[in-house]
Structure formats: C-alpha cells, structure tokens
C-alpha cells in the first residue's frame, strides 16, 4: 500500500519537477523576449533618428549585410510584432503552467498525506 503510493508519489514528483523546469524555462524565455523587445524598441527609435543618407547593416553571421533603411525599419517593426506575439504566447503558456503546477501541487500534497497515512498505518500494524 505504502510502497505503491510512494511509487506514485515519486513519479508525480518527477512530473512536477519537470513542470517546474518548463515553467522556469518559459519564464527565462519570456525574460529574454522582454529584453529583446526593449532592444528592438531602442533600435526602432534610433532608426527613426537616422535619415535616408545613412546606411544600415545587418550582421548575419560574420558579415555585415547592407540593408535599406526603410527595409530595416520594416523588419524591426515586424520583429517587434513578432516579439510581442511571442510574449503574449508565453504569458498564456505561463498562466497555463501555473495552473497546472498548482493542481499538481495539490495532488502531490494529497498524495503525500496518503503516503504518510499509509506509512503510519503500516507502522501501526507492525
């Protein structure tokens, strides 16, 4: 009885830790996205400062690729949109994960109680 519960508890615990890992991963990803958003915002603002005479380069791998200013601006805005979308996606994902982890935590606590009870019973029997 107690052993079975312990087994289940262990598996659930593993799942829970995995979930926590996911949560932290998505959290860090979201943070990265936040910084990228800030960076891109800055880039966009600074691109606004530049005028058409300036040449804009994009570093792709080891080389700087010359880009048109308007094109650059468009890509940056696109990039911003993408980042915002990503952030929203991560937000919902995080909420979902939080809920799941909460439920899992409850399950875990109940399992733990059961396990303790079973343990106590086993001890009492012995």
């Amino acid at each position: 009885m107690a052993e079975a519960i312990q087994k289940k508890l262990n598996t659930e615990l593993e799942k829970y830790t995995q979930m926590q890992k996911d949560v932290s991963k998505s959290m860090s990803a979201r943070q990265k996205l936040e910084t990228q958003l800030a960076e891109n915002n800055i880039v966009k603002e600074e691109l606004d400062i530049l005028d058409s005479a300036n040449t804009v380069y994009k570093l792709i791998g080891p080389v700087l690729v010359k880009q048109d200013l308007d094109e650059a601006k468009a890509t940056v805005t696109k990039r911003l949109e993408y980042i915002n979308g990503e952030i929203q996606r991560y937000d919902t994902l995080l909420k979902d994960l939080e809920k799941k982890s909460d439920q899992h935590r409850q399950l875990l606590s109940s399992l733990q109680q059961e396990f303790q009870k079973a343990q106590g019973l086993a001890v009492g029997k012995v």
């Binding site: 300036n54 804009v56 380069y57 792709i60």
Partner: protein, 490 residues
C-alpha cells in the same frame, strides 16, 4: 517581488520575519548593483559622447591600434566623422558623429530611465527593510513597539480551547459517576465508606454531604422539640376548627403526639400510623407526615387487600418503609433527614415510571383528585383511576356506615360534581357496593376494619384539605427538578 509578498503574508514567526528582511535586503542589494552597472554605462556613454564631440574636430588621428591582445600598432584614424553604431539586435548603422551623438543621447535617456526606476525600487525596498526590522523588534520585543494584545489574545484563545476540550470534559463526566457510586457506597456501608472515599477530589464533596446530614439531623431534633412543645396549642386549635365528632374520634388517640396533632392542620391521616411514624422516624413537619400517610392508605386500597385493621396498619408501615427504602438504601436515620428537604416532598409525590419521574396528584385532594383523574387522562392510567375511585368509595363506605357525618361529606361531593362517586346513595346501602366487581374486595375491608378512623380521615380530608387544595401541591411544583433528581439518585 511576488515571492516577497507571499513571504510577507506567511510571516508570523521571528524566523520568517528575518527571512523577509533578508529577501528585502537582497532586492535592495540587487538594485544597488544594477544601479552601479547603469551608472557605469552612463559614464561610458558620457565619455563616448565627449569623444564623439571632439572626434570630428580633426580629419585624422595618430593612434595606437590594438593588434591582438598583446600588441599595439601605430596607425592612423581616418574618416573621423564616420561612425558605425551597433543599434542592437545585430543592426548596424553607419552614421556621422553628430548622429551618433544623438543616438548616445537617446541611449542616455534610456539609461537614466532605468536608473530612476531602479533607485525608486531601491528606496521602496529600503523602507520595507526598515519596516521589517521594526517587525523583528516587535516580535523579539526588543524595540519600543510591542503589540501585546495580539500575542496575549492568541495565547489565551488557544489555551482556553485546549483546557476546555482536554481537561474539563473528562473531569466532569467521571465526576458524576464516581460521585454516585460513592454515595451509594456510603449509604450501603455506612460512614466508613465516606471516610474511605477513593479520590481526594470527591472527598471534599463527601465531607460536605456528611456535614449537611449532621446539620439536618440537628435541625430535625430541634424541630421535633419545638413541635412537641407547641403540640398542645396547635392540636386544640385545629380540632376546634374541625367538627366535634372528629374531635371525639380522633383527638383521643392523637392528642398525646404533638406531631400528629400538628399534622391535623392540613389533613388528618389515620392516627395509628401517625404514632408509628413518630416512633420510628419522628416526622417533624406537617406536610411530610401527611403526604406520606394518605399515600399508604392509597397503596393499601390499590392492592385491594382485605385485612384486619391491625394488619392493615402493619401493612401500611411496611409499605411505607418499602417505599422509602426504594429510594434510599434502607437506613432509618437517612429517612429522618430525607423528608426535610423539598426534594423529599417532591419524591413523595412522584412515581417513577419508565425511569422518569411522573408527579402524583396530591393526596390531600383525594376527592378532587377523583374529579381531575376523570378529566385528566394524561395524569394517570385507567388502573390508577380505578384505584383512586376505589379508595374514595371505600372511604365513603366507612363514613356512611358508622356515622352521620357522611351527609355533609356527600353534600360536598355532590357540590363538587362527582358523578362517579355515589357516596350519597351509600347511606341507603347496608355497606355493600354493587357498582364494580372489584368492590367486593373492598366490602370485607369495610366490614372488618373499625370504621371510625377511616371515616374521620376522610371527613377531615374533605373539610380541612379542600380549602387548602392548592397548598400542598405548590411546594411540589416549586421543587427544583435538579435537586429532586439528585435526591432521587441518592
């Protein structure tokens, strides 16, 4: 932040408070670190801005160009007004020094914003740290602010709850049982049991009871003496109030006993029983002796025993003792004081049916009781009714046969409206009752027993008790049920 808030909520113990403080301090330190970083960045930007300002001043610069990590090479910086700026996210822009300056300004703005926010959060958390320190002081009661009320209230609540649940209940329950057991023991085996009361806690109660018993005895003796001294006067007064025939019949045997004479006040029971009572138990007060007597009579009649008068008397005594012993464990001295409390009266008037006390009708109202019994079905069973009717009839028979007093009596009866009691017709009878099958039992009783005493009793019941109909019942009603129950348990 969120984590800190949570910890703030959960902080009750000093350890938690210290942890909260540590967290807040950590946040403050983090803020400081970041502020330092941003300060450095802003300093760098300041230097860069200076450089960008001065850079386009000359067309070319002789500089030492870093050549790998170790070596520098003499070189020349040309295109002094041409700068490639990393905008971020791998975006580069070739721009003039002037534009670069603008970009630097823009970035400086951002840095300043960052710095401002960081300093704000830092001050916020610094105040929090101070608050938490205050809390810490409160909890450890080192500081000036000590919230005593909260702590004491919590302690009180928990303590009282625990006491009530753990200590009080188990104490109170076994108490009753043990006390009862002890009391029973005492009555069974005498005072030795009292001395040997098992638990100390109950000893005090036992002693108290013993003391009470003693006091009651003393009081009783005093009462007896008083009653004896007063007996003559009372007797004369009472008998004068009653009819002359009564006096002739009853006073002669009863006058000698002050007690019995006293008992006349309410209702005179049979004299011989009185004497016996006094000899045995010395009943001091009127109500008690009186209430006891009629009950006995009733019991006899209910049994439908046909006995000689002397036998009846014995039986009455016997039944009386039995009745008393039923409640107590048959100790004469117990009986004596038993009857002194209202609870005893109550007990006399109470039948225990199905384990719960059912009040009897006052025996003083033997006449009126018949009436009430007829109407009041809840009071007693049909058997009781029959018994009581029987009793009434037998009495009336007694009266009708030997004396003419029954005339007045029957008149009273008729005025009361007792259709079931045909006492008036009994005058014409020769002493036999035809009404019921059970009556033949009573008939020999009539013939055998000396009629004088029962008649007197009956008449007196009528004459004296009728005005006082409510009087004897009131004490019964007033007895606290708790006390009565306690005495019964005893």
């Amino acid at each position: 932040m969120i984590k800190n808030e949570k910890s703030e909520i959960n902080m009750e113990d000093p350890g938690g408070v210290t942890r909260l403080r540590e967290e807040h301090e950590k946040v403050v330190k983090d803020c400081e670190r970041r502020i330092q970083h941003w300060e450095k960045v802003s300093g760098d930007y300041d230097a860069l801005k200076e450089r960008l300002k001065t850079l386009p001043d000359r067309l070319s610069y002789d500089i030492m160009v870093p050549f790998g990590p170790m070596a520098f090479m003499p070189g020349k910086l040309v295109h002094s007004n041409e700068v490639t700026v990393l905008l971020g996210d791998n975006w580069f822009a070739k721009c003039s020094a002037k534009q670069a300056e603008k970009i630097v300004d823009h970035r400086m703005k951002y840095v300043k914003n960052e710095l401002c926010g960081l300093s704000k959060t830092m001050t916020n958390f610094e105040t929090r740290v101070g608050m938490v320190k205050d809390w810490e002081n409160m909890v450890t009661e080192k500081g000036d602010y000590v919230d005593i009320r909260e702590v004491i209230g919590k302690n009180d609540a928990t303590v009282t709850k625990g006491k009530r649940r753990v200590a009080h209940r188990p104490n109170s329950k076994p108490k009753l049982e043990t006390v009862l057991d002890l009391e029973e023991e005492n009555e069974g085996s005498g005072e030795d049991a009292q001395q040997n009361g098992s638990t100390k806690s109950f000893m005090t109660q036992e002693e108290l009871w013993a003391r009470l018993d003693e006091l009651e005895k003393i009081e009783e003796l005093q009462n007896e003496q008083d009653s004896l001294s007063d007996s003559a006067d009372i007797g004369s007064e009472d008998t004068s109030s009653s009819s002359s025939e009564d006096r002739n019949d009853t006073d002669s045997p009863t006058a000698s006993n002050g007690l019995f004479v006293k008992s006349h006040i309410n209702a005179p029971p049979s004299g011989e029983m009185k004497e016996d009572d006094e000899e045995d138990h010395s009943l001091p007060t009127i109500y008690f002796s009186h209430t006891v007597e009629p009950k006995k009579v009733r019991i006899n009649t209910s049994k439908n025993t046909t006995l000689k008068f002397s036998e009846r008397k014995e039986l009455k005594e016997h039944s009386k003792r039995k009745k008393k012993n039923g409640h107590q464990n048959g100790h004469a001295h117990h009986e004596v004081h038993k009857i002194q409390t209202p609870a005893d009266i109550y007990r006399l008037f109470v039948d225990v049916r199905n384990g719960e006390p059912v009040p009897k009708k006052s025996i003083l109202k033997s006449r009126s009781r018949e009436n009430s019994v007829c109407s009041d079905t809840s009071e007693g069973s049909a058997a009781d009714m029959d018994e009581r009717r029987m009793m009434g009839r037998s009495f009336s028979h007694d009266e009708s046969t030997p004396s003419d007093n029954s005339d007045s009596l029957t008149e009273e009866d008729s005025t009361k409206g007792m259709p079931s009691h045909p006492a008036g017709k009994f005058e014409a009878f020769s002493g036999t009752v035809v009404e019921k099958d059970s009556m033949p039992l009573a008939v020999p009783f009539l013939t055998i027993s000396p009629p004088a005493l029962p008649t007197i009793m009956e008449r007196k019941l009528e004459e004296v008790a009728v005005p006082d109909v409510e009087a004897p019942q009131q004490p019964v009603k007033r007895v606290s049920k708790f006390k009565a129950a306690r005495m019964q348990q005893k």
